[in-house]
Amino acid sequence: MYLVEMLGITKRFGALVANDRIDFNLKPGEIHALLGENGAGKTTLMRILYGLYRADEGQIRVQGRNVHIRSPRDALTLGIGMVTQHFALVPPLTVAENIVLGYTDDFRLNREAIRQAVAEAEERFQIYVDPDAVVQHLSVGQKQRVEILKALYRNARVLILDEPTAVLVPQEVDNLFQTLERLREQGFSIVFISHKLDEVMRISDRVTVLRDGRVVGTVPTAETNERELARMMVGRETFGVTRQEIHQGEEPLLRLENVWANDDQGLPALKSVSLTVRAGEILGIAGVGGNGQKELSEVLSGMRAPTRGRVLVGERDLTGAEPVEFADAGVGRIPEDRHEGVVADLTVAENLALEHLDAFTRNGLLDRKAMLEHAEHLIREFQIKARPTDKAGKLSGGNMQKVILARVLSRQPKVVIAAQPTRGLDIGATEYVRQQLLAQRDRGAAVLLISEDLDEILALSDRIAVIYEGEIVGELPASEATPERLGLLMAGATKEQGRAGTATATTSH
């Protein structure tokens, strides 16, 4: 008997069929992985189960009974809880307050009773977070534990976790997996959404693979392997960028000397960062999100002025320069937030022209014909699925990113700043972006790749620097980098020599 059954679930968004007659079931006391690429329909399916979306067709049964789940409240009543990728926590409240929020009977808040109840729940589920800690001071891993506790505290028997490891460092992943295994022993059922094969193999009992909104198959984990799952997931044997030889950089094109910068709150986000990127190499900046990557890419785009230190492109000092000066100095900038790289309500052609508008202007008048031709040319060259007159905001994430790439790379930049260039893209678009970055490297550009995706860093970088709490805590050639070693650096567990600009492609260790 199944605890949860989803039968023939179909969900459409306009013309897009996100879920196409999906069957899914969950046994008591199992960890069931839901595997698939970005956009395969995993999250949509689980959002339906949690009552965030309504299915257009299909049925849901819980313990054999037909149910209608219209809201998360309905789901929780049926014992189904979900931890979404974006946590639903109130930052200034304490852990205990967050856990009981919306789940208290009394008009008056009895803080001591709440604290006590939460502490007991922590003991029962063996998930420990200080109940009195204020949520905004917690690490991502701790916040995730609070979310899990919150669901369990509301008597969830089924726990849906949407890509729970995406935001965690390797050590935190281990911790999470131990928690999940304990919960399984206690009889909880867990749906584990992921696109990471190794994690699925490690933690799950069964795997359901989705591709393009359809179920490819459901298999017991013990009877499958990573290769088979990968084939089911992408429909082909190999994928991803194949790594070539590691490049030795030539003359330095981008140098940061002891750069400090503040975040939006005015607190130091970059602390004496020194980096050198040479012609013909990719320097990868690894690190868990929120450790200064955003500020680093903004400093190198002209969007944020450093408080101390110097930024040099070639021999030109661009410390605190405007974005236009970076562009003119040959710095191609791919922003972390795509929506910051295009004006959504302008057309593709306008967005492609705006950064170098002088090239399309005669006596102040727009050469609209040249703009359209330029756009058509780039659309062909970069395989963008759009017309020049489409509004940029209507494009998919991958095509929007291609618009930015086309604008940046068609200028043959000397330096490329790529911040999270494949975030949220599907495998096809991801591969395309990565190939383009490698092509820039081979052409002789100095590429700075800032990415939270460790696989991406490992696949592309010639050298790797790790950023932790705004500091470069280690810098090593790619040949010496292992996920374990990087993981330790990223978690702030160790610091390695080689920081402060002395490191080069040949840094020995």
């Binding site: 785009s301 974005p323 236009v324 003119d328 004006v343 306008e350 705006l354 102040g364 008048l365 727009l366």
Partner: protein, 361 residues
């Protein structure tokens, strides 16, 4: 296998069908007049008859049709002025004050340029009015780009300041020495805007206003500066990222906006009143905001709205004379129309789809 067919309606968030979007203005019009009918009835008049005087009567004679264009002249200019600012995301609520700055300049230049022939005096006066409006728009614009001071507050408050300046001038140094009325001395004949249609009040200012609309269209759609304006207005951060000098663009837009509003005051003084008086504008600057909004910040939309508002202004007077309804009904109608439009315009983004689906049972 039993197939069951059922019909369902679904609301989707995409562009509404073309026919609906073209119908929307008509819908707005009808709803506006249904609502204002309540006030007409309150004024003890027959709504249908009232609408005749409102919308048809002004167009039925040559004199009153030309009067519609006279009324539209300052509205076209303030509509264009506000649009220039709004497109760049600069919320200039100060067109009223900037209009009076232009009016002051015109009243002054009209007395000192008397020695020059019209071909020189009039362009100089228009230039002076533009500069005066731009100068009055400068402090709030500068505060905004330099210190992020909210321009909605500053431009709005400066309107009151300007009214007091005008009042001080008219009750002080500029009081008419002959009549003693609070009005400035009459401007020289060579600085008065010539009539473009004989035996009417329609003056050269209307041509200036039409040119302003054309310039607005041309700048926004054909120039690099216009693209930058739109980019800044539609996505400040992205525009900055792409190297658009956001502050300079906003500042320029604010100054052009002030200048065009100043022109509105200039042509009212030099084309209609020939003096500076306190009642140059019954709120043209504020109406310009409504016109720009109703015109969807598009040059032709602004032109149509301004002409329509000119019609309503003229019609309200006709109506008032003919049926004894207060002349304020014109303003009530304009305000109602804005509210109705703001309520209905979001419908453009949705479409209702009739779904016929078969589900297996």
């Amino acid at each position: 296998m039993l197939a069951q067919r059922r019909l369902r309606l679904r609301i989707e968030k995409t562009g509404a069908p073309f026919w609906f979007r073209s119908l929307l203005p008509v819908l707005i019009l009808i709803l506006t007049f249904v609502i204002t009918a309540i006030f007409v009835l309150w004024g003890k008049a027959n709504p249908l008859q009232a609408y005749y005087y409102f919308l048809i009567a002004p167009l039925s004679s040559r004199v009153s049709a030309l009067e519609v264009l006279v009324k539209s002249t300052p509205l076209l200019l303030t509509g264009v002025a506000v649009t220039f600012a709004f497109v760049a995301g600069y919320w200039n609520i100060g067109a009223e004050g900037q209009l009076y700055a232009g009016a002051i300049a015109a009243a002054w230049l009209g007395t000192v340029l008397g020695g020059l022939p019209s071909v020189l005096a009039i362009p100089l006066m228009l230039l002076g009015g533009f500069v005066a409006g731009a100068l009055w728009a400068l402090p709030p614009a500068w505060l905004r780009v330099r210190w992020s001071v909210d321009e909605v507050v500053t431009t709005l408050l400066l309107n009151s300041v300007m009214l007091f300046i005008v009042s001080a001038l008219l009750n002080g140094p500029w009081r008419d020495p002959v009549s003693g009325w609070p009005q400035s001395p009459e401007i020289a004949a060579s600085t008065m805007l010539p009539k473009i249609v004989p035996r009417s009040r329609l003056h050269l200012g209307f041509v200036v206003a039409v040119l302003a609309v054309v310039v607005l269209w041309f700048v926004l759609s054909r120039t690099a500066f216009g693209l930058k304006l739109r980019a800044v207005g539609l996505g400040r951060n992205a525009a900055r990222f792409m190297g658009v000098p956001v502050e300079r663009t906003v500042l320029t837009a604010a100054l052009i906006s002030g200048g065009v509003a100043g022109l509105a005051g200039t042509v009212e003084v030099a084309g209609i009143h020939f003096h500076l008086i306190e009642a140059i504008s019954p709120g043209y600057g504020y109406t310009g905001i409504i016109i720009a909004t109703l015109g969807a910040l598009n040059a032709w939309g602004v032109a149509v709205s301004a002409l329509f508002f000119g019609l309503i202004d003229t019609g309200a007077q006709t109506l008032s004379r003919a049926m004894g309804v207060p002349v304020y009904l014109g303003e009530v109608t304009q305000a109602t129309m804005l509210l109705v439009a703001l309520a209905l315009i979001p419908l453009q983004r949705y479409r209702i789809r009739l779904l016929s689906e078969s589900s297996e049972v």
